[in-house]
Symmetry: C2
Subunit: 407 residues, 2 copies
């Protein structure tokens, strides 16, 4: 007998039929002798509809009241799903964030979970009930309702799994696992049976969009075994854990594409010490996150520095650079969002120099130009023109996963 936490996203509970489907998955897990704690998101577009309703009344509504409004969405989901489970002849109890003891800080709309007082959940599990908990929400020290922001329900699920020492945290979604590349765009993309937390973190931050980083970070910190799977297919998904069996091999887990990236270049900097520090401390002060950095010697004794930021930050980054042109000292600034970042991720990569080489070769063969390169222990990222992004992913994926049965 194990304790399993199962999380279902908004599309999995969007209507009566899907709620009944979710209830079937839950009760099947329960019937196998497991204790089951379920975390649900709001149904379908409920959260967006509530936001629109609030904004219609007050476009600058306080975050405290917006959280009060939005938290109703998950409450509806858990109550309806409890009813569905009851209809199948099992005992269920739905709990809101405060009933479940999810304590957060007071950062409304983007709160962080500080602690979970799991006594109530434990008591209900002891009564052999299936426990349903609202995702995405908690309460702060004032007893006010908070929401956790994007990816909140995944985070709720992992936090509960950690607090309850669950054996497994299953994240049900509309894809049936983590793939070697986005299966909607890349021919031959394969589902992975397992992947490490670190690889998953790189894939999530690189735009694979299966799990939210916050939840994976938390799962890694508390060593919660996760599994990503589909609520519709019924097939086994992808396990996310600390160490995976295939780790000793040269191992590339996947190819990811991130189009939410922009490149800013400062041309004609004086070649004197401390200039990079100055640039990036100015950006840090403005809360602009910089990803890849490239420094190159220019033609005429000067040098260039380019860096990437998210597309949202591009305008601000350029403004800040212009405002500080005298302090930094450069000739001109260029910015473009017509770029994309393509990455390969794999836990065994650091020990195998040939991996990056293989990636560049694939891009070269496909006639794709590389603007910037960045590497870490478990990934290699390149910046290419946005129009080349799809081809780049396909070429790299073919090279690693399809050509010689490689990897």
């Amino acid at each position: 007998m194990a304790l399993v936490v199962q999380k279902f996203g908004g599309s999995s509970v969007a209507n009566t039929e899907r709620i009944l489907n979710v209830a079937r998955i839950i009760t099947e897990t329960y019937q196998k002798g497991n204790d089951v704690v379920v975390v649900l998101s709001a149904q379908g577009d409920t959260t967006d509809d509530l936001i629109a309703k609030g904004k219609e009344i007050n476009p600058k509504a306080s975050k405290r009241e917006m959280d009060m409004l939005l938290s109703t969405g998950e409450q509806i989901s858990v109550a309806l799903c409890a009813m569905a489970i009851e209809a199948m002849g099992f005992q269920a109890v739905s709990l809101t964030g405060w009933q479940a003891g999810v304590l957060t800080d007071s950062n409304y709309s983007a709160a962080r979970i500080k602690r979970i007082r799991a006594e109530r959940i434990q008591k209900e599990l002891d009564k052999k009930k299936i426990v349903l908990v609202t995702g995405f929400q908690g309460i702060n020290k004032y007893d006010d309702v908070t929401t956790l922001g994007r990816g909140g329900s995944d985070t709720s699920a992992v936090a509960l799994a950690a607090a309850l020492h669950a054996d497994l945290c299953q994240i049900y979604t509309d894809v049936d696992g983590v793939y070697t590349a986005d299966p909607r765009h890349v021919a031959g993309a394969k589902k992975l049976d397992e992947i490490t937390f670190d690889e998953m973190l790189e894939l999530a931050s690189l735009g694979a969009q299966v799990l939210h980083n916050r939840s994976v970070e938390m799962a890694k910190r508390y060593n919660v075994n996760m599994e990503v799977l589909s609520s519709l297919s019924g097939k086994p998904g992808t396990k996310v854990k600390e160490v995976v069996k295939t780790m000793e091999k040269t191992h590339v887990s996947g190819v990811a594409k991130d189009k939410n990236v922009a490149r800013v270049a400062l041309i004609g900097l004086e070649d004197r010490p401390g200039i990079a520090f100055k640039i990036f401390s100015i950006l840090a002060k403005e809360n602009v996150n910089v990803d890849i950095i490239l420094q190159s010697i220019g033609r005429d004794e000067s040098k260039d520095i380019s860096f990437t930021v998210s597309q949202d930050d591009m305008g601000r980054a350029k403004e800040v650079m212009l405002a500080n042109q005298d302090v930094i000292g450069y000739k001109r600034v260029e910015a473009s969002d017509q770029v994309a970042k393509i990455s390969i991720v794999g836990a065994g990569m650091a020990n195998n120099a040939g991996v990056a080489c293989k990636m560049f070769e694939a891009l070269y063969s496909a006639g794709i130009n590389i603007h910037m390169i960045s590497t870490s222990e478990i990934k290699v990222s390149v910046l290419v023109d946005e129009r080349d992004a799809e081809n780049a992913v396909q070429a790299i994926h073919d090279r690693f996963f399809n050509e010689f049965g490689a990897n």
Copy 2:
């Protein structure tokens, strides 16, 4: 400076425009220097829609989960209204039943308020905030959400007014006060400036449907000054209080009609002691509420007993009587729901024998037959054929309120 509790019903907050209207009423009250606590119902048909959603998934959904589901409706209302008040430049805070400290028993779907822990509300009032509280809901000793059933939000408002020692509890609705008769059906119906709790209780139980009895009973018990008024007209409403100025006069407050009534008659009972006791103890055991009772001597040494019940109970009352025909001993049972109860209510009535007489005279002049009569300190009720109901109300109302400028 006073403390005012204002309650707005579902139609008063049905859409953005109406919520903004309600926010205007609230902020105007606040600007006059009052502390304001607001109780809101769910928007428009929200509660019915949620019930339908639940029943679709499980027609026999547990009441605990149904309460969890339904309580979201009021939470949406208070959050949206708080946003509207913020948009007008005032500080507001919305509170759910548990945040506001509304403690109830565990009778899901029809819970009774046991106590209100008003510390949180008081703290927010001390900060000069307008406080919005979800009507219709509370929590029980298990920290589970309960709802108060029909008339619940009125009851929430009165309970909060009592707990906070409010100076006034205003119930905003879609009619602009208590009338001498239903203004939609009776020509010449007049709005009353004030009415006593007892009169209001009689009118409510007699089908006037302005305030729910539970709230009036509670207001009477804790001596909470109530006012019924319209959220749309802006006119003064009707004050409900312990003693009213006009009380010393012969005073008829209103004429009410109740069509939800049925008559059951037992014909040919033996004329022996204890038989009435037997009949009504059997009915009491079956939880059938009996209203008017008429006992009459029949033609042949036997007697008849008839009584009225609500239409819902008619079938059961008849069944129970048939099942006990031998025990009770009667010839036959008749039942009809083609009847209506017409009542006049007035605090000064007991001291003036002419009032009932005037009522019967009015019915006689209109050619309307009276089946049964029942009187109390402050009311006279008659049972008439349902087809005569409208005419009866009009005739009585004309006689008391319109003919000689009477009353």
